[in-house]
Symmetry: C2
């Protein structure tokens, strides 16, 4: 993996800025301009994708990192990619312990670390929070004041330290979940950790978090899996008609079954609640479709319920915030035919850039049977007309939508 070298830590600069090597790539709230608040040492327990990535990010910021993992080989891999040094008896006491184990052992690990390091703030990064919080608050006693739950929204279809990345958290939301007993200093320490690795901290209650991820993360995952599962026996001829819609709906179905099973059982009640609502609507659809199948398309009660469910979805999707976590906004679209050969896409974007227009979002539509693609550029509504005129002037084939 040559790319790993790129993310390997540079010379530690204790307390110094994050080494963003390319000033022109620094985001609006630039890590480069704020010294890291996390002094460390930070102990990372569990060196999978999240733990190892966190180690890389902290080491790159000059923060000493101690690593622990139940698996010696996983630990060795994390050490070898530069995520930190294996924890040893001779270590300085960590100021902060991050538990990045699988969710099913997060709580017991948090309790053990609270006991092992009586002065340390302890957090976990499990993707489900209420269960962990309840167990810790029940058994940690005094220690509960030093525990703060958290959840960096930075999953990935690959897992393990081999996929680790110092930039994994850059620009992602990092949910901070203070417990009833958490003291302010502990909350600040975890919040600082999120900011120091480039994430955007968001504070939520444990149940509030779990209900949220059930809807915005767990339900979509299951829907994608349920649709994709239907394609196991589909004839090639049918699959050849696949369009961008199917590809988008099923993309995340490629995720890791074991990891997802663990996440889902950990958030069973909220996910079941969401799935039950889906099933109610699904039964409505089935009743309407059966009516149409038996009595014909004009059967009373066939079209109406179908249109209502599609309309409800249209209302819901409009509520998803736009990029950068901003309020939803309508961008205008400019569609351009682009030949599928090296540099053409580059030429297009270069010329859009020369026109001083920012591309807010982009979608590539694949063409079946021909090597020409459709690039759909989302730009500010006010920029649509000038951009279309400019691209046309430059000889691009702008497509009316």
């Amino acid at each position: 993996m040559p790319s790993r070298a790129v993310s390997a830590p540079t010379a530690p600069r204790p307390g110094g800025p994050l080494p963003w090597r390319y000033p022109h790539l620094v985001p609006e709230t630039p890590p480069a301009t704020h010294p890291v608040a996390t002094s460390g040492p930070v102990k990372v327990v569990g060196t999978g994708l999240l733990g190892a990535s966190l180690g890389l990010a902290l080491r790159a910021a000059g923060v000493p990192v101690q690593l622990a993992d139940a698996s010696p080989s996983a630990l060795a891999l994390a050490r070898d990619i530069g995520a930190g040094s294996p924890a040893a008896g001779t270590d300085r006491e960590p100021a902060l312990v991050v538990v990045a184990t699988p969710p099913d052992v997060a709580a017991v690990t948090v309790l053990a670390e609270l006991a092992r390091h009586p002065a340390a703030v302890v957090t976990d990064v499990a993707s489900v929070k209420a269960a962990v919080a309840a167990e810790v608050e029940a058994d940690a006693g005094e220690g509960a004041a030093r525990y703060v739950g958290s959840h960096p929204m930075a999953g990935r279809e690959r897992s393990g330290a081999a996929a680790a990345d110092a930039d994994l958290f850059a620009g992602r939301p990092w949910v901070i979940v203070p417990g009833a007993a958490s003291d302010a200093a502990a909350v600040l320490a975890v919040r600082s950790l999120a900011v120091d690795v480039g994430a955007a901290p968001v504070t939520l209650g444990a149940q509030e978090h779990d209900d949220a991820v059930a809807l915005v993360s767990h339900l979509p995952q299951l829907a994608a899996s349920l649709v994709a599962a239907r394609l196991r026996e589909t004839p090639e001829a049918a699959l050849a008609l696949s369009g961008q819609g199917l590809r988008d709906v099923t993309r995340i179905a490629a995720s890791d079954p074991q990891l997802w099973a663990t996440i889902l059982v950990g958030n069973a009640a909220p996910v079941a609640r969401a799935l039950r609502e889906v099933r109610t609507d699904l039964d409505t659809l089935l009743a309407a479709l059966d009516r149409a199948a038996t009595e014909g398309p004009d059967a009373p009660g066939a079209t109406g319920p179908l249109a209502q469910v599609v309309a409800a979805g249209r209302t819901g999707v409009a509520r998803i915030p736009g990029k950068h976590g901003g309020a939803p906004r309508r961008y205008g679209e400019v569609s351009v035919l682009v030949p599928d050969s090296p540099g053409e896409l580059g030429r297009l974007f270069g010329e859009v850039g020369e026109a001083g227009i920012n591309i807010e979002d982009l979608q590539l539509e694949h063409s079946a049977g021909q090597r020409v693609g459709l690039a759909i550029l989302s730009v500010l509504p006010s920029a649509v007309a000038p951009l279309e005129a400019e691209l046309d002037r430059r000889g691009w084939r702008v497509v009316a939508r």
Copy 2:
């Protein structure tokens, strides 16, 4: 819509090549090199998105187009954007009639056109085929030999002639559905029409087609709507955690409810069959989640079924063909942090082009709270290492995945 001008027909060149104005944008099988086989006149009945787009494409190829629509205003709009001339008693008899009405009136319209034009080949572009074919074959008598069903896979979230586009069919599959009675010349005429407007013809049986679109088009639409419908009441704080996964799964939920209701009732049985399979898996998930919710995450029979459904989806999604209708292939991915300012994406693609590497696919990950994005470039596996090295050399922040 300044872009409409771009798609407006150029001076007709009867029998001449399609006027691809930009040689560097001609796809691999370039329309520019084959004269159109469709001589016309072609009569288009129904001047919505598909009918008007077809008119634009044929006119641009120098083929005379006669337009008809039940709505005088829709007809006038199609005429005004250059899709053809309103059909008149004085017209030459059309050689080909394309019925582009809503699916629920397609069959009756096909029958009327077969009777009205005793020498013409008649096709329809309804997105559901078995019902139309059955009705036509039952009532057309001799005329059935001149009917061939078809379905250009070129839908769009917008509708009406206002969204028409001469390039709508470029590179899209166009399903040809010969009936039992269709004669060879009629099939060839419809196939030629598809090729002449830049589509990739695919021959399927009516039921085969309907079963296929139920799985690759109708089911994903309903799944997107069902997930998106859950977001109607979701708190803003929860929606703020939305990631690319939710956005992808729900994108097509923005489609037109009335149009979809008509499509779904027209393909009720196959869609219901697919939905029932989904419901069976969904019940399996609910049973497992309920077990976990009541007996805890380690309850027997909780994790297993969840992992199985996710694994089944993983198997299915792997069967979706890659772009250009080719066999699924594994591309390598190169991920690069890109600041969200004009020209940066362009600079990136330009430099990838200079490196002589073709971008097979592209995905932009949005960042919440920061104005920096992650561009994930899909390239041939052999190109990953050289591209990462080159981009790193040029000062880009390549991200390990």
